[in-house]
Amino acid sequence: MSENKLLEQNASTIQKHHMGLKASRAMSNTAIYALLVAISIIWLIPFVCILLQSFRVESTWQVGYVIPQKWGFDNYINLFKTDFPRWYTNTFIAALVTSVLQTIIVLCMSYTLSRFRFKLRKPLMRLMLILGMFPGMLTMIILYRVLKDLGLTQANAVPGLILVYIASSGMGYYVSKGFFDTIPRSLDEAARVDGATRFQVLKKIILPLSKPIVIYTILTAFMGPWGDYVFAQYISFGTSSGMNVAVGLYRWLNKDQIAQCYTMFCAGGVLVAIPVTVLFMCLQKYYVEGVTGGAVKG
């Protein structure tokens, strides 16, 4: 009897102890979640504000409140009466072409440096490392000059910009080369033995195995031109038809414009965010794998 009692007692202490663990875990989880919620609120507030402002139609200037008094799509409708569609198209074309070309260049480069052994391989990699240390902004003025002489500025800014964006893309091979290095060479060799060409190896063996890195490369190549301001501002040089969204929208923020264009600016900002958000939502899974994929060498 007493033994039983003792057992019961033991059981209850164990249970109590167990409860304590659960409670403390719940507590720490609550604290962590509270912190995360707080951080995400802080992080999301600007976006929510911009979204809300873009639907505000009672006035076009900045106001001291967030929730619109009158809701409507006027800002979006007005947006399409300006040069905005043109800027959007420009940006989209530049980003799309750049992402395709840059992805091809980067993948070829990485494959070459990962699988081929040639005399200048190491010096070339070192050279690119050093070149990459120079800030790109330094070349801005000379690039402008060159592009201007080629006739690729102002109204023809889009091809000019594409040229600038993809020109140095071969140097961004590090992450994908790292990833390719993790794929065993014996796979290549087996394919070669079966009569595959180098290109077939890349296409049929390497690329299917490195989906995350391909997607990561496409994404980063798309994001660069999509958000670029400095080069785009220089190369479009005051010509509306050659501007991208960042440059075009920024013009609405100057002293004489902001009062008429502020809400429209917010609407423009929302439209700019849409494709990037969609892209990330769809490819998020691969993106995380891609960023970390090249880091560990197998």
Partner: protein, 507 residues
């Protein structure tokens, strides 16, 4: 004989070429780019269209009108003049830089005369460097005044800075006056106490002299006025009309914010000239800059196109076009007739601007670096804890102005009765660089002073070095151990330095 014939033929040919060139008509079609402010794009297109159909010279412009803010058109132009607009509008503060960069084509004599006759004198000054006109005045509204919320500031308080600050603090509403981030707004306080910052340029737009009295007894009074404002918890360093929507009761800004403010405040909107502030029992009305917006013509390779562009610029800045701009965009005209029209006279914002006009300083040619040098005064004053701190802010300002000219060893420094004998090296108020300077000598018991190179007290240039105009100064002989130049009578003199010789001409 053959030789003679050949010569004759050559002469005739040359003559006929000159004759055709002289009579070359401007008729033709020109592809041009025009830079105007975003809200003026449609109007400008319509005006150019109208010019195409109405001009009698047979000129047709195929114009691309681009929206480029007047605030940074100058910077854009200087970056790449070739790629810039053929006609471009810009705010006056960029004028000197544009002239220096060779980004503005000079006006012909006739065009210059027309512009000078049709526009207010200040506007003509604004487009002149040396004796040359470089641009066409577009508006005369680039100044500032006060918008206020009638429900917060009672009408009887609008003349007193202290009363307005008290009202704002009582109502917990902001007083928006861009004191810490803009020299353009800040300078008004100094002008209010009689300080000046006059810069002189030559025909090429190079700065040759400056007369700056911000660092003086009156400057200190202005600093005390600024202190009252910037140390108020309700002061907001902003000049955006939309501040009324986020808790401001007063905003100091210009005509461009009229529609915004009207839209926010409606009938509660009050417009007035700037208030006065009081220091040591004396009242000072706050001054301001009055400036202009200008239209420039880019220098062209093709002389005929240049002439046609000048015609268009003249048309776009004439009375009719300025009135159209006033009606559509409420831009205040610089044209004398347009300014006098009843419509313009009745616009509340322009009425306030006119009320401020007697206290405003016409914005002449100001060194591009001045804007950055002067704007820190506001912050320095806010940090200052006592009068010495205020003085330090002004000293700091002066040292930087001084440095702009310091490197020029041929410059001259005028220290004497004309600037209250501020005889420390760094508190002079008259500089002469290379060329000439106008010296105002007020009547006093001893109208004398020293002329030295900046930063070097030992480079004294005295009586013996005056070669022309020695009759205007007293020969003190042995009684002049300080080698001072003492004027015989008060007046306005032009002083010229030629290497080591000084010439003085009475104006």
């Amino acid at each position: 004989m053959k030789k003679f014939l050949a010569l004759m033929l050559a002469a005739i040919m040359a003559f006929s070429m000159v004759a055709t060139a002289g009579a070359a008509s401007l008729a033709g079609t020109y592809d041009i780019t025009v830079w105007v402010a975003e809200n003026a794009v449609d109007l400008t297109k319509a005006q150019i269209e109208k010019y195409n159909t109405t001009n009698e010279l047979g000129i047709t412009f195929n114009a691309t009108v681009e929206a480029v803010s007047e605030a940074d058109a100058g910077t854009q132009m200087i970056t790449d003049v070739e790629a810039g607009g053929d006609l471009f509008c810009f705010a006056q503060d960029q004028f000197a830089r544009l002239v220096q960069a060779g980004a503005l084509a000079k006006l012909g004599v006739k065009a210059g005369e027309t512009v000078a006759a049709a526009n207010v004198p200040g506007a003509v000054t604004a487009v002149t460097s040396g004796d040359t006109l470089y641009a066409y005045p577009l508006t005369a509204d680039n100044g500032y005044f006060m918008y206020y919320d009638k429900t917060v500031i009672p009408e009887e308080h609008i003349d007193s800075l202290e009363a307005i600050i008290a009202d704002c603090e009582a109502a917990q509403k902001y007083f928006a006056y861009e004191m810490q981030t803009s020299a353009w707004y800040l300078a008004g306080m100094f002008f209010g106490t009689g300080c000046v910052s006059d810069w002189t340029t030559d025909d090429d737009g190079t700065f040759i002299s400056v007369r700056d009295t911000f660092n003086s007894a009156n400057g200190l009074i202005a600093a005390k006025g600024i202190e009252k404002l910037v140390k108020s918890p309700m002061h907001l360093s902003s000049s955006s009309g939309s501040e009324f929507a986020s808790g401001a009761a007063v905003v100091v800004t210009g005509t461009w914010d009229y529609n915004t403010v009207k839209g926010i405040l409606g009938d509660n909107m009050g417009v007035a000239d700037l208030p006065s502030f009081e220091v040591d029992g004396q009242s000072y009305h706050i001054g301001s800059f009055s400036g202009y917006k200008l239209m420039g013509v880019k220098p062209q390779v093709d002389a005929v196109k240049a002439a046609a562009l000048h015609q268009l610029a003249q048309y776009l800045t004439n009375e009719a076009c300025q009135m159209e701009r006033f009606e559509a965009l409420a831009w205040g005209p610089s044209n004398i007739n347009a300014q006098a029209s009843d419509l313009v006279q009745a616009n509340p914002a322009l009425v306030a601007l006119n009320a401020q006009a007697p206290y405003s300083t016409v914005q002449g040619q100001i060194h591009g670096s001045w804007w950055d040098i002067a704007k820190v005064i506001g912050d320095d004053i806010k940090l200052a804890t006592d009068e010495a701190g205020l003085q330090a802010a002004l000293d700091n300002y002066y040292a930087k102005i001084d440095a702009l000219f310091q490197l020029d060893t041929s410059a001259l420094l005028f220290v004497g009765a004309w600037n209250g004998w501020n005889n420390a090296d760094d508190t002079d108020t008259y500089y002469l660089k290379d060329n000439t300077l106008t010296l105002e000598v007020p009547a006093s018991d001893y109208m004398g002073g020293r002329i030295v190179n900046p930063g070097d007290w030992g480079t004294d240039k005295g009586f013996a070095q005056v070669t022309v105009g020695a009759e205007y100064i007293k020969d003190l002989g042995a009684d002049n151990p300080d080698n001072n130049i003492v004027f015989a009578e008060a007046g306005n003199y032009t002083v010229t330095l030629n290497g080591t010789e000084i010439s003085i001409v009475k104006n």
